[in-house]
Amino acid sequence: MTTGKRRLLSPMLMIVVPFVCLWLALPEALLAVDNEKAGGRGRFRLDLYGGLSLLNPGDMNQIVDYDTSVREFTYDAYFDYLRANGMILSWSEDGDGAGRKIRHAFPFGIRVRYALLDFFALSVGFEFLRRGPNDSLHVQYTRRETAAETYLETLDTSPYRLETRAYWPSVGIHFFKRFGKALDAEAFAAGGPLFAECSYESHRTYVWTIQGQGYAWETFKSEDHLAEDGSGIGISLEVGGRLSLPVRRGIDVFLESGYAYQMVKSLSGEGSEIKGETEKTWEGKWRVKSETMTTPWGTRILRFPTNYETGGTGTGDFRLDLSGFRIRIGASLGF
């Protein structure tokens, strides 16, 4: 990921620095709004906040669906086929092999606002969002081959991790109105470039053990490691509302809620795979691909996102969609 971060930091600086310069260069006349016009809380405010974003990066979450489907097809469906054809006596499954999808994230950010009028302010901000549920999965399949012999197949996957990170410099406009003596209500809109990264990592250990009367042989063991990273630049737009309340002189607390459209339509990055003693690395563009798994017990077409260029067919665009509703709480310092 070192490369990906370097790739993001450079354009971020290119975006943020001009914003700051623009803000510093605003004509004094435009900035000549007294504190009263700014609601009596100072022209400048510094917001610090954290919160919760509800999101569903569908293309990325397909990795979990794909892994689950492959396991169910190559184990559950296969064992059903063996059982139906009298090739095994019975089978059972113990454990949970499904990893968690990304459903939410915890953004935090910083924002500087400047009140131009007593109901209107401009802002520049920077927000960071990260989510990477780290799972440790265990499934064991037991199949009775004969009356005397049982096969145990265990799949341990640790870590199993999808992760997304986003960096969002923004400019915003804010319309606010005071209710009563202290409560401010506000509507805002903000937008800017979205620098986003995604990554997937799984390390799977497969063990096949034969159990019989008086023996248990570990017959085969393999370990696979797969890691894929991606980064790209997209767009972020957000609208929302905010309530803020002073708690002491110059300090407000606020609650914001809104909907953000955050989309990156092109990501690329590195990938690596270790299977046994075979190692492979690559670099490629993320796409949603499909592959047809043809087995003696049926055929299944599966879609999966990857940055591995030569795997799968029927490529489609991969989008990292971090859009969703979000809620934040924070403190605002006036000066």
Binding site: T74, T146, Y151, T219, E291, M293, P296, Y308, G311
Partner: protein, 569 residues
């Protein structure tokens, strides 16, 4: 003047003499060879079509035994016969190499005191070409090497799909063959005739299919993927067919070198063969009724649901030759296995000084292993397989007993005492056999690469479209009941419109199988309609046809080769 005239006359006579022999016949004959071909660890994988969810495996180091016997006459197109037995897990050295194919053979007069020594073979196939015998991985003299070889658990895990499956087994043979050709540039372009017996039919099928469609074994199209093998095959074609350099050599061109196969009682589409055999042996014209009468136990399909169990367990007859008592044929394999453990016999049969083969010395094989347990117990029943398979693969324990004989001239006295898990010779390696059939992670994970699978029948039928094929029809063999082969092939309705077994003909031992392909059978082989397989009957033969009717087999193969374009040269 007189002297000049004498010289001129002498030159004229010399030129006349030389002109009597074509250049090929004047070529130097090659020395016999025997020894080991080193095979490095190979990474390969199986897949269902999904890239990331593949079963990646890495084989162990191996030293594969081969024996090369030079043809009586070497010409530019003298064919190279490549011999192997089956099992899987059975050795070629005590099989085809010892049974009337090379210059020396085990005599076949077992009932009159024979079968216990090597004799001159009057029907040596060296009269038709060069002979290359190969012992499959961990069979015969071939052995694997690994680290921590003293660890029994490690040795147990070695007998699995990474070393034993029908595709990798074929890849092993291709590697040995191509490396042998590469190290003998004079033979590089010679026609190669695959000769496989029993399970060797599956091996021959897989070998030819891989060679003819080699690109698909590195580009993801086939279930088995072995990129290193594809590179090796490609390099060979670059040498043999340089006009195709940089492009995929079409199978129609490849068969210029690999255009013939001789299959002795082969497993080809074995599940279908077993199904057809089971049906045929229950019919009123089945030989089982005669066997029952002779044994004094009438055959009743209702009472004996498994026909082969009736033959072996009730009538006590040898499934490999039902006119003989149990284990008659395996007695020959066992005898050969015992004899080959003596350096005198090994040198005689191979035609080389075996003491000069470095890989035989105990000091050169400290990392070698052949078996899992040092006591090597033999199960009388393989779980979860049919009785027919059990009959095929369970042979007497004597064949795999440790070869500690302590007799003058045995290999141990010459090459040194081996470690307890190593053996100089194993006729049938049951650990390897089990690894193919039972303890195999590729099978456990659902890859349909077991030798019973119809995929091998489909591969065979595609090979036959281009490769001239000779299959023996041994009348007394119930393990591979050749009469069931035509109906078995006819079950491939997706590829064939009809299969006709023509029993008559003008030959001494007539027989043909005529395959009529469906128009859509193989889109990459347009215009394919019919193909004829030579299918001669051997009325007195057991499974090992070269043992029981050596003259007839040699004569028929020679005539068939002549008729199919590989005449006497």
């Amino acid at each position: 003047m007189k002297r000049r005239g004498s010289i001129g006359w002498s030159l004229y006579l010399a030129c006349l003499f030389l002109s009597l022999f074509p250049p090929g016949a004047r070529a130097q004959s090659l020395p016999n060879e025997a020894g080991y071909m080193a095979i490095e660890p190979v990474s390969f994988y199986f897949h269902f079509g999904g890239y990331f969810n593949r079963l990646e495996l890495k084989s162990s180091r191996a030293r594969i035994w081969y024996s090369f016997q030079s043809a009586d006459r070497n010409g530019p197109e003298t064919p190279l016969f490549v011999f192997f037995n089956g099992g899987p897990g059975s050795a070629t050295s005590c099989g085809l190499m010892s049974m009337y194919t090379g210059r020396y053979t085990l005599d076949n007069r077992i009932e009159t005191g024979g079968g216990t020594s090597y004799i001159d073979n009057p029907y040596s196939w060296t009269g038709r070409g060069h002979l290359l015998y190969i012992d499959a991985r961990q069979t015969g003299f071939s052995y694997n090497l690994t680290d921590s070889v003293q660890d029994e658990g490690k040795r147990f895990r070695e007998f699995n799909a990474q070393n034993f499956n029908s595709f990798f087994d074929a890849a092993d043979f291709i590697r040995v063959l191509l490396r042998f050709l590469s190290s003998h540039p004079g033979l590089m372009n010679h026609p190669v005739i695959i000769v496989g017996e029993s399970y060797g039919g599956v091996r021959a099928t897989a070998m030819l299919y891989i060679l003819l469609n080699y690109a698909d074994f590195g580009n993801g199209r086939e279930t088995f993927q072995d990129p290193a093998l594809v590179a090796e095959i490609r390099a060979h074609w670059e040498s043999v067919f340089p006009q195709y350099s940089g492009s995929v050599v079409p199978p129609e061109v490849i068969v210029r070198q690999f255009g013939h196969q001789v299959l002795i009682q082969p497993a080809l589409s074995f599940r279908y063969q077993e199904e057809a055999e089971d049906e045929m042996l229950r019919r009123p014209d089945s030989p089982l009724y005669r066997i029952g009468e002779e044994a004094g136990v009438p055959y009743d399909p209702g009472r004996y649901p498994d026909p082969l169990s009736f033959v072996s367990d009730v009538a006590k007859r040898d499934l490999y030759i039902y006119t003989k008592p149990l284990n008659w044929m395996n007695g020959f394999f066992g005898n050969a296995g015992v004899l080959l453990r003596f350096i005198r016999n090994l040198s005689l049969v191979t035609g080389v000084d075996a003491a000069a083969i470095p890989g035989l010395y105990a000091s050169a094989r400290t990392a070698a292993y052949r078996v899992i347990t040092t006591s090597y117990p033999v199960s009388s029943a393989i779980p979860a397989v049919s009785p027919a398979t059990r009959a095929l693969f369970v042979t007497p324990a004597a064949l795999e007993a440790p070869d500690v004989r302590r007799e003058p001239g045995d290999l141990e006295s010459v090459f040194g005492v081996l470690q307890p898990w190593d053996r100089y010779f194993i006729g049938t390696n049951f650990n390897a056999n089990y690894a193919f059939h039972i303890y195999n992670v590729a099978l456990v994970r659902g890859y349909d690469v077991h030798s019973w699978e119809p995929r091998y029948g489909r591969m065979f039928l595609k090979n036959v479209a281009l490769v001239n094929t000779f299959i023996t029809n041994a009348a007394l063999d119930l393990v591979v009941y050749a009469a069931a082969l035509p109906p078995a092939l006819s079950r491939h309705v997706e590829l064939l419109d009809s299969v006709n077994h023509i029993a008559g003909g003008g030959e001494a031992r007539p027989g043909q199988i005529v395959l009529t392909y469906r128009p859509s059978a193989f889109p990459d082989l347009p215009g394919l309609t019919t193909r004829t397989i030579r299918f001669p009957i051997y009325e007195k033969s057991c499974h090992a046809v070269s043992l029981t009717q050596p003259q007839e087999l040699f004569t028929d193969v020679s005539e068939w080769l002549r008729q199919s374009g590989l005449g006497e040269r």
